[in-house]
């Protein structure tokens, strides 16, 4: 079980959260201009990093806000938690800036893309 520090609510069990897959996927500016290949990239292709991965989580049973996380997909260590819309922090180059945000610092969720959790339903 991961212990996740929600930017708004503080440390909570993983069971309070839902996973949203890779972070920083923007909705295409001109969807009609995309080729089938580009549209497939947007819909179905996500990084599947072995190592430090930028991903989205939502605190479903708490503040219901989305936020971003840098997490190691092998050790499952959480390296940084940061607000939606903020750029990916450097890790491990600049660890000083890595800790989670102060409560209340997160911007409201405005996730443009659909969560891509591939857990069976």
């Amino acid at each position: 079980m991961l212990l996740i520090s929600c930017p708004n609510c503080g440390p909570r069990d993983e069971t309070e959260f839902h996973y949203g897959g890779q972070a920083h996927i923007a909705y295409p500016e001109n969807p009609n201009d995309l080729s089938d290949r580009e549209w497939a990239e947007y819909l179905f292709y996500r990084e599947n990093t072995k190592g430090t991965f930028a991903e989205r989580w939502v605190h479903s049973t708490g503040c219901r806000q989305w936020f971003n996380m840098l997490r190691d997909t092998v050790s499952y260590d959480i390296h940084a938690i940061y607000a939606m819309g903020q750029p990916r922090p450097d890790y491990p180059a600049d660890q000083a800036s890595a800790p989670g945000l102060a409560p209340g610092a997160a911007t409201p969720a405005s996730s443009a893309t659909t969560p891509t959790s591939s857990e069976g339903v």
Binding site: M1, R37, Y45, N48, T73
Partner: protein, 406 residues
């Protein structure tokens, strides 16, 4: 006891050769799918100057970690075709491989707990029959007769409202399956090279010409990727992307018990699947951990949920102790169907995306992937499972449709 008194080591089933300088084809991944692919390449296509490269030990990844369920009761035509072909191969492989890997056709039951489940199940039974897959709808009384230890009363949160049943489905000894394929591969001249990690690919333009490994560089005409959870890592080395997300999938076994469970029971709704291994352990699995992971372990709450579901369905399991839990890394696609076919890299082929259901598909994956590698074109059965379906939109959406989530 001193070493002098230990019994002789049994005969080795395969050699442990050093890699040659070059091969006609190299299969990356020495699990079930890699072994089956090499077997069919040698047997059906006469390609015997080939090697299987395995970074760890033979069949030590998902092949050692799955819950060994074999069934073919998938909803969609494309899936039913490939999984039913696999099941037919499972039925003849013990004789063909001259190795009894204890394929036990004890049936698989997929429980329905809601009206929606009931409707979906009856629809799937109809679809299965039209595709030549054996399938029956059982009412709760028939469920109880087939599996007396199941709680079919109304006093549980999600009462059993019936089940689909595939009598020809069952389980097999996964390790023995791997050994059976490995022994035959070896006999046919295939080099099985363990402790040989692929670290890169050599390309001439868009064409792959060799493999860099921890045991030196190997030139090859063709490369087949069978690396399950690590498929994306290999694809990245080769310079292309796959629509795969790797997740931990956990399973567990109990202590050994007398035979109490005569079949295989799967429940999509409360999410657990249970069988009893030949040796006596109760074997259980459920869903993946939600996050991407390569750690071969998952969170305990996932195990806790599947055990809660199992105890509700099987009250006598309440006193059974967990012996061990483990995790493997499964390669999931967005439509819950595998990818078997060509890649953007010439002479490189990929077999991946089998997600949580790869074991049952082993023989058909091997057969069709070998055909694709040998001929450069898909077999009729894997044609719909091409990588290009994510561009054309011809997805094979088995989420939920496949009788259980995966």
């Amino acid at each position: 006891m001193s070493a002098d008194h230990l019994p002789e080591h049994p005969d080795f089933l395969w050699r442990n050769p050093d890699p040659k300088k070059s091969y006609d084809a190299v299969i990356v991944g020495g699990g079930g799918h890699g072994l089956a692919t090499a077997y069919f390449l040698a047997k059906n296509h006469g390609m015997t100057n080939i090697a299987i490269l395995e970074k760890g030990w033979l069949a030590g990844g998902n092949m050692a970690r799955n819950t060994t369920i074999i069934r073919s009761n998938y909803l969609w035509d494309e899936s039913a075709a490939i999984y039913e072909h696999a099941l037919k191969l499972w039925e003849i492989l013990p004789e063909e491989l001259e190795y009894d890997f204890l394929f036990s056709q004890r049936g698989v039951m997929n429980l329905a707990h809601t009206l929606g489940d009931v409707r979906e199940s009856i629809r799937r039974v109809g679809a299965n029959r039209l595709n030549g897959v054996d399938a029956e709808w059982l009412d709760p009384q028939q469920v109880k007769e087939l599996c007396p230890i199941l709680n079919t009363s109304d006093n549980i949160r999600y009462p059993v409202m019936g089940a689909t049943y595939q009598p020809r489905a069952g389980i097999a000894k996964h390790d023995h399956v791997a050994w059976a394929f490995a022994r035959k591969c070896d006999e046919l001249g295939v080099d099985i090279i363990q402790n040989c990690e692929v670290t890169g690919f050599i390309k001439d333009g868009d064409k792959v010409t060799g493999v860099k490994t921890s045991r030196g560089t190997i030139n090859t005409e063709k490369v087949g990727l069978c690396a399950a959870g690590h498929s994306s890592v290999l694809a990245e080395m080769a310079g292309f992307r796959l629509p795969i997300q790797s997740h931990p999938l956990q399973a567990l076994v109990s202590e050994l018990h007398e035979p109490v469970h005569p079949t295989v029971v799967m429940s999509n709704h409360v999410h657990v699947y249970v069988s009893q291994a030949h040796k006596g352990e109760l074997v259980m699995g459920a869903g993946v951990d939600s996050y991407n992971g390569y750690g071969q372990r998952g969170s305990f709450h996932v195990i806790e949920e599947q055990m809660a579901a199992a105890v509700e369905l099987f009250p006598i399991f309440a006193r059974a102790h967990v012996l061990r839990t483990w995790g493997g890394i499964v390669d999931t696609t967005l439509d819950a169907s595998p990818i078997v076919g060509v890649t953007p890299v010439e002479n490189m082929f990929v077999n991946c995306g089998w997600g949580t259901g790869g074991f049952k598909g082993t023989p058909a994956a091997g057969l069709t992937f070998a055909h694709t590698i040998a001929t450069g074109a898909p077999h009729e059965l894997n044609k719909p499972f091409a990588l290009e379906r994510f561009e054309t939109g011809a997805l094979i959406d088995e989420h939920g449709a496949a009788a259980v989530a995966h």
